[in-house]
Symmetry: C2
Subunit: 334 residues, 2 copies
């Protein structure tokens, strides 16, 4: 399970415990400062409706990893990425996809296992943004956005080198910007949110809209909505399928237009795209950039890059969670 | 011309020179730390196509004001609010409404008169936001937005107590967020920008749209587009005119929807509206708040206030410009 080795330093090595809480599973790992994951584990989130029991199992898993470490180490903190989590309060609040209803004081509870350590939690897209800054393609940038394209669309904004959290700790929710208020129904209860167009689910919906609007043949005419995956659409686009390419063009148009508006507010120097849809390469990046520039106000044109994330997909969530702690260390000048 | 007196302190009094550069006129004044304007002057911007000559006249005007000061003082800086200005570079870049084309290194030039002092410049809406923080209704707030409703729509964002400037210094341009990409033609060359709906000009356009769409009588059927002013519409609304009230309702809807989206990105605790349209009172505040909440994502609902600015209209621009310097002093812990 040792997936990488930390560089050899003199004396005791500092490591951070990174935890990524997803709706189905939780991934956790030990991360050293150069971004190597030294040992990684997994736990079902779904099967743990009791959060105390879940935390005990998580702690056991972490202890198992720590027993395998073959060098002297010091744990300097615990970073957690979780949906609907509040950085300021350490709570997870009304999560749609986690088995803990209402408000859970997750950090306060988890600190019983690490009473002397900083335990910091934010949502997965914010964690991804910090991961990009500490380990990825945004190492020298102070103003940038990371867009995570998964089942939904998450976003993390870094402004003057700091994570944008907002007054209540929920800022940076670009996925729920309404781009068409009479548009597609969203899981949040409203209509026309960006993520209903730009996400793995969004592009599926777009393929079905195109199947409805057009008459031509397509391999997707043989597949049910529930059997269709974004990966199939990506592969079809890469194989030159016109309908799949058009679906990506449409996705890029919606994303590009939304980014042109977002740039007016925070004016980043770069926007990084992360997640499954980015495997379509030029089919997503090219229209996104093209429509962003087309709808951009003149003085902002050709100033903002749209780039792929510099973080490997498999490790991103744990690295991002760990980056929460490394970032606090950097800010403290340690 | 002495419009207020600074409070009596022991010893030398600190004052800031505040300058507001508008398309038609420039206003300038001496501002002390409690926000009193001690002397105020005016100069035509329009009639000075030569920026060096303009700056000389401006400096003469400031010297005249200083000669009238009846206490011992120390000038601690010069704050300038100007359209299309760049905080980082001290430049005014391609202004549509100023007589200086291209890029003018305004701060660098003006420093010849004040070589030993900080000279800081930003756009008028950013200055208004700092004015609100130092002298107005946002004194205890660290995350808020100020929307200035004039000929156009300006916005200044304060995040964690700091002005949001962006990587290139032009952030916070909510007036040019596109709310309908097939909508009204904007002076910026694009279509459907928020300020084509929400501004003094925007509400005039809305009245003319309503006159076109509807059949009923209205006092506005006797007035040409060029003779109509936003003030007439405000007065008509306050007198119960249904068409004027509907124009405000429509304006509030567009603004409320745009704010619901903007809140998702920066999550402020309050949004302040400033400028002529706010004289309509409930006719602008009520629909803005109602539509903002209606289109707001659930977890953000009923958390963000929409409030009138706490700064008097006449003094706002000079106070805002001066606040640039007072804010730097506060940040430096002076």
């Amino acid at each position: 399970m040792m997936e990488g080795a930390c560089q050899i330093h003199v004396g005791m090595k500092k490591i951070v415990i990174g935890i990524d809480i997803g709706g189905t599973n939780t991934a956790f790992g030990l991360v050293c400062d150069e971004g190597k994951i030294y040992g990684q584990g997994r736990l079902s989130t779904q099967q743990h409706p009791d959060v105390d029991r879940y935390q005990e199992e998580l702690f056991l898993g972490i202890q198992q990893l720590l027993r395998l470490v073959e060098f002297e180490y010091e744990i300097i903190g615990v970073g957690i990425g979780a949906p609907n989590s509040n950085y300021y309060k350490g709570t997870i609040e009304y999560p749609a996809n986690l088995p803990w209803p209402g408000v859970t004081p997750f950090v306060e509870k988890f600190k019983r296992f690490f009473p002397a350590l900083p335990v910091v939690m934010t949502n997965d897209a914010n964690a991804a943004a910090l991961g990009e800054k500490i380990y990825g393609a945004a190492k020298n940038l102070n103003n940038f956005v990371v867009i995570t394209l998964g089942t939904g669309l998450g976003s993390g904004f870094v402004i003057n080198g700091e994570l944008l959290l907002g007054h209540y700790g929920f800022a940076g929710e670009l996925g729920h910007v309404i781009i068409n208020h009479t548009g597609r129904v969203c899981g949040c209860g409203r209509k026309g949110c960006l993520e209903t167009y730009v996400s793995a689910t969004g592009i599926k919906r777009t393929v079905f809209k195109l199947l409805a609007d057009k008459m031509g043949p397509s391999e997707f005419r043989y597949i049910s909505y529930n059997d269709l995956t974004a990966e199939m659409i990506t592969n079809a686009a890469l194989n030159g399928d016109p309908l799949a390419i058009e679906a990506y063009e449409y996705t890029g148009e919606q994303l590009g237009r939304a980014l042109a508006n977002a740039v007016l507010i925070t004016e980043p120097e770069a926007i990084f795209l992360f997640g499954g849809l980015t495997k379509a390469g030029p089919y997503i990046f090219e229209p996104t950039k093209r429509y962003m520039e087309q709808y951009m106000m003149t003085q902002f044109r050709n100033k903002v890059d749209v780039l792929p994330s510099g973080i490997e997909q498999g490790n991103a969530a744990i690295l991002g969670a760990a980056a929460l702690i490394w970032n606090e260390m950097l800010r403290a000048g340690a």
